[in-house]
């Protein structure tokens, strides 16, 4: 090959390498951005399939207290005032506040529940027992640990306590099933006391391993949630 051509070809190759080196970081950023976008879109699509608590424009705007994590104080909850259109119906109201809790605060560091978890169903039994059924992500995406799991349950309980007085105690289900623990630590076999008026001491009075002796009305409700989830 003519040496002049060899120099020219070498120059072109060098320029191509430099251009590729300059372009590579930008390309990587674009690929990562596209990946995030795909994940978000999948999550949004899944959420769209779930029944969302209807918000009527006729519902009055109410200032509610949401309990999220405190950034300054490790392991503590902080009440945050949020203005929401809230239904007067206690079941719809519970769904609305829990969906707001799941959506999370402006400061994502203060989240208590995983962003991809969803509320699948909420019922209130005549005796004041609330049954909240969450998607699997509440178990699989939560940071594992006693403190983080305790904070998650407390944020649910205190938010309900403050905004839905009809709920006296709470049973948490995961995908329509009773679960032994949230993510390996906090006990979900029990009923959590939501309202101080619930003097019956139900919180730890009925601990039961999955599939065993829950009180009959709760057992019936759990079964109906389970059937609805299977459908």
């Amino acid at each position: 090959m003519n040496p002049k051509w060899a120099v020219w070809l070498g120059g072109v190759l060098l320029a191509a390498v430099i251009a590729a080196a300059l372009y590579f970081p930008a390309l990587r950023r674009q690929v990562n951005k596209a990946k995030d976008l795909t994940e978000k879109t999948a999550e949004q699509a899944r959420r769209e399939l779930l029944p969302v608590a209807p918000v009527s424009t006729g519902d009055p705007m109410v200032k509610v207290k949401m309990f999220w994590g405190s950034r300054g104080q490790e392991g503590e909850l902080l009440p945050v005032i949020v203005e929401l259109p809230l239904s007067r119906d206690p079941v719809l109201r519970a769904k609305q506040v829990l969906n707001t809790l799941l959506a999370g605060p402006v400061d994502s560091e203060s989240r208590t529940l995983p962003p991809d978890a969803a509320l699948l169903a909420f019922y209130i039994l005549p005796d004041g027992t609330g049954i909240a059924d969450f998607s699997d992500e509440i178990r699989t995406s939560i940071p594992s640990g006693i403190q983080s799991e305790q904070l998650a349950v407390e944020s649910i309980v205190r938010t309900l306590e403050d905004n839905v007085p009809q709920v006296l105690r709470l049973k948490i289900l995961i995908h329509g099933q009773e679960a032994d623990t949230l993510a390996g630590h906090v006990d979900l076999t029990q009923l959590f006391r939501v309202n101080a008026k619930d003097a019956a001491g139900t919180q730890l009075d009925n601990p039961s391993p999955p599939g065993s002796s829950l009180p009959a009305p709760i057992r019936k409700a759990v079964e109906s949630v389970r059937k609805a989830t299977k459908r």
Binding site: E74, G75, P143, S144, G145, I146, Q147, S148, E149, Q150, D180, T181, G184, H185, V186, D187, T189, Q190, G201, Q203, L204, D205, P207, S208, P209
Partner: protein, 213 residues
Amino acid sequence: MPRTGLNIVVLDPAHGGTDQGARGTEGISESDEVLQFATATKQALEAQGFQVILTREGNDNPSFDDRSARANAQRGAVFITMHIASTGLTGTARVYVEPDAPASNNITGLIPWDRAQAPFLSLSRKLGDLVQQELSKRFKGSPDTLQTAPVRQLRTTAAPAIAVEISSVSVKERAELDRMVPGVAEAIARGLADFRPTYVVPTIPVPGGSVHP
């Protein structure tokens, strides 16, 4: 007469097997790290004259009930389940006990397995306070007082029982956790040594007398 005499400490390194627990930087897994903490704590306790039983010594994962059963089968035992959180202030340690349970209306003197911890709650709190005090002396930023949480592992344990949670696997490097090992072991051993003279096996009132659990 109430019986005294704490002889056996059941140490429970949480998780194991396919359940690795919290996972952090440098491939840190809670199940491996917590075994290291438990092994060092066992040595510190044996130096104080305690007999120590580990609920697992390798990478297996006994059930919650199997772990509790190791303590429930003993007389004069205490139970300590050890965890490392996935989040939280690094270099700190917290002690948890079960929240108050309503009084049992059991008239047989037998303790229901599901509520085995209930008669031991006040002793668990006493033990937890002593261990938390020792931990907060050694690890700045740790709470001064114990916390309550419905920890599943504690509920079925018929002995004074606490959970110790170390924060966290999200350390910058594994060495940060390794440096905590002797301090945690020493704090637990010291707390138990202080607890030993006050340990009295509780009694359950039944018609016509009382029985020991």
